[in-house]
């Protein structure tokens, strides 16, 4: 598919990239996260789903233990500006600066630059085809 210098293009036999997906905060809308989790599995990723109400620290610990290339967080409650930078901080605190942090949910366009400045690598809006997310992770994975 020529999506860039991803690991898989160089080494087709390499182990699949692992993605940790979680809901942080109290938002209970879980289906988007599950659909992306399932879609990424179909796109050849290893996916670990942590479920609802994870703290940034729990997410970072799981990313470390699972040797994740990327962490995907879903937030639909409006708490993204408060929560997502904390996930980045928690990842960095575990020495996981290279782990890609992507987000999805109901996130107004105006907040995207704020999140990007806080170290969130990409924001995907509802309705994004999962292969698009997969291609992004492949092309940008740093570990």
């Amino acid at each position: 598919m020529g999506t860039g210098p991803g690991l898989l293009d160089a080494e087709p036999e390499a182990a699949p990239l692992r993605v940790v997906i979680a809901k942080v905060g109290l938002d209970g809308h879980e289906v988007g996260a599950r659909v992306v989790a399932q879609g990424l599995v179909e796109c050849g990723f290893d996916v670990v789903y942590l479920g609802l109400r994870r703290t940034p620290e729990q997410v970072a610990r799981a990313a470390l233990e699972e040797d994740a290339a990327a962490v995907g967080i879903s937030v639909l409650s409006g708490a993204h500006l408060a929560l997502l930078p904390k996930v980045r901080e928690a990842l960095d605190a575990q020495g996981l600066r290279d782990v890609l942090l992507i987000a999805g949910g109901i996130i107004p366009d105006a907040d995207v630059p704020v999140l990007e400045a806080a170290g969130i690598d990409a924001v995907f809006h509802p309705g994004t085809p999962v292969p698009e997310i997969a291609a992004y992770v492949r092309a940008n994975a740093r570990v």
């Binding site: 905060g25 109290l26 809308h29 659909v35 609802l52």
Partner: protein, 573 residues
């Protein structure tokens, strides 16, 4: 005319039916087929309903005959068994759907300002939208509340917040008032009882309408925080208390809405909700209550937002199923038990792109519920796919319902689509899909078993994946998004932002409440809640006392956590 054992709605004799069948075959051969040569159909996936069936090109009396639909047995008259045509005899001519709004944002003061506006615009029912910490049982100063206070709704930590929200608004200002609090039903009930007392009202003076449906939280909505069985018990406590103390209130609204939206689709979603209803009913029967003492207090929150005709058919089918289920499975005799009272939330497939188009979508979705004959109705604001509604968007939504009540002849007659070959056929087809799914749930041991064994989740996720695929393929069309997208500059939309200071304001208020209240009284009241929860007694009286003493949402929830334990997140997908 000879009586037949199976009398179709159309009152056709066998000879007449054969004649119609021949006419239809001749038409297909001689008229339709040549037409399709020059005007081929659009792709068949476009005719698949999200609710399950594929729409046929045409419906005629033969479709009713083939489905064995009998007028008296299956359709009947409104306000009479099997209630297909309506819960009440005179529909919107006597009672148009109550205009209800799900509203709350930021601080209680800000919410009060909005409630006054809603009252002035003619809104008849307020359903409090509270923030996630309050729904999940955390006070604003809890670590888990960080970033969420006042975000998805108004922050509520104690009775003090309701006092502010309803300042200058006696609970009698609206025909009904209510809240969701599906994981903390007794607390929501207690807040309204205590607030009513403060306003000098008795429970006879106003009507409380609660969602209080914890089971669907575990499958689709996500505010569960207790293990599933005690959560079910708390919900039943609310119903039982109302049976004894406020039988004109609506203590439990069994929801399809969130199950459908999450991916189950309206047919399986309705089946799962009916299975949840069975669970509550059986819990209450197990306490020795008579079915006709509590069934009239139950409502359902139905939902089909992809297809106007399927929404009408789903409501009609569900009323029929409910009437038969209550009569045949539970021995209900009171017509008020058999007549399902329905609420709904007018939606379409709303989009963030070109958001003003959502006004058109929600109008059609809301119209569907008018045509289906609901008792109370919310509808979405055009900016709900973006944020909490702005004032402008909210007012358009209020006016939308009022226009449907007063203009365009929408509310002049009962069940206006009844007798349509299409709608009656679809009613029957959806009824079959719902009953088949309900039978699968029953076979596996009922609602709780199917939540615990992952069956409900698997149906929801499969449905959500199917929707996503259909969206990507363009057969789940969203105009301006995956079909007919334009390159125009996005329209500017005024998105409501919740002030980040809300969290600080609410923490301060909580500290004030804690400083001012009688700590001894709070301690005693919480001890009484603990005792009731442990002993299996109805917790509602003790929770009312706790709320009166200004015990907080988090404190009451912590009592339940300590007695019942905590729910564990599900990591399967």
């Amino acid at each position: 005319m000879k009586e037949q054992s199976s009398r179709p709605e159309t009152h056709l004799t066998n000879g007449e039916a054969d004649g119609l069948r021949e006419d239809r075959e001749r038409w297909e051969r001689d008229v339709l087929a040549p037409w399709l040569e020059q005007a081929p159909e659009r792709p068949s996936e476009l005719f698949e309903l999200d609710a399950g069936p594929e729409a046929a090109p045409l419906y005629t009396p033969l479709d009713l005959l083939e489905r064995g639909i009998e007028h008296e047995r299956d359709i009947g008259l409104p306000g009479a068994f099997p209630f297909t045509r309506g819960a009440t005899p005179n529909g919107p001519r006597s009672r148009p759907p109550l205009v209800k709004f799900y509203s709350g944002q930021g601080t209680p003061e800000e919410t009060n300002r909005r409630y006054r506006k809603l009252r002035d615009w003619g809104v008849e029912q307020i359903q409090i939208a509270s923030d996630l910490p309050s729904q999940v049982g955390y006070d604003p100063d809890h670590i888990m509340a960080a970033g969420e206070v006042g975000r998805a709704g108004v922050s509520i930590a104690s009775l003090r917040d309701l006092e502010v929200m309803f300042d200058g608004l006696p609970l009698t200002s609206f025909k009904r008032v209510g809240a969701l609090f599906s994981s903390l039903g007794p607390l929501a009930l207690a807040l309204f009882v205590a607030l009513g007392e403060q306003q000098g009202l008795t429970t006879d003076d106003y009507v409380v309408d609660l969602q209080n449906d914890p089971l669907k939280e575990y499958s689709a909505r996500g505010t569960q925080f207790l293990p599933i069985r005690p959560a079910t018990r708390l919900a039943a406590d609310v119903v039982e208390w109302c049976v004894e103390n406020a039988p004109h209130w609506y203590p439990l609204d069994v929801c399809v809405n969130h199950l459908n939206a999450a991916g189950a689709g309206s047919s399986s979603g309705t089946a799962f909700a009916l299975a949840n209803a069975r669970c509550y009913i059986e819990e209450l029967l197990g306490r020795g209550l008579e079915i006709d003492s509590f069934a009239p207090l139950l409502q359902m929150f139905l939902d089909e937002r992809d297809d106007l005709f399927a929404a009408v058919a789903n409501i009609r089918a569900t009323r029929r199923i409910w009437a038969r289920m209550l009569r045949d499975d539970y021995g209900a005799r009171d017509p008020r038990s058999l007549a399902l009272h329905v609420t709904a939330y007018g939606h379409g497939r709303e989009t963030r792109q070109e958001p003003l188009n959502n006004i058109v979508r929600t109008t059609l979705g809301t119209l569907a519920y008018y045509l289906g004959g609901v008792q109370t109705l919310y509808n979405a604001s055009y900016d709900e796919a973006l944020a909490i509604p702005s004032d402008v968007a909210l007012k358009i939504a209020v006016r939308m319902q009022q226009i449907l009540t007063h203009e365009q002849g929408i509310s002049l007659t009962v069940d206006p689509l009844g007798g349509s070959y299409y709608v009656e056929s679809l009613t029957s087809d959806l009824e079959r899909l719902i009953l088949d799914e309900l039978a699968r749930v029953d076979e596996q041991g009922g609602a709780i078993a199917c939540i615990e064994n992952g069956y409900v989740r698997s149906v929801i996720v499969e449905g959500a994946v199917r929707r996503q695929r259909r969206f990507e393929a363009g057969s789940r069309a969203m105009v301006g998004v995956n079909v007919l997208a334009s390159d125009d500059e996005p329209e500017p939309v005024d998105v409501l932002r919740v002030d980040a200071e809300v969290e600080e304001v609410q923490r301060r208020r909580l500290a004030e409440v804690k400083a001012e209240r009688d700590a001894g009284a709070v301690g005693a009241a919480l001890a009484a809640v603990t005792e009731a929860a442990r002993s299996g007694a109805n917790v509602v009286p003790s929770v009312i006392e706790a709320v009166r003493s200004y015990a907080t949402v988090g404190e009451v929830a912590d009592v339940f956590r300590s007695v019942f334990g905590e729910w564990e997140p599900d990591r399967a997908f």
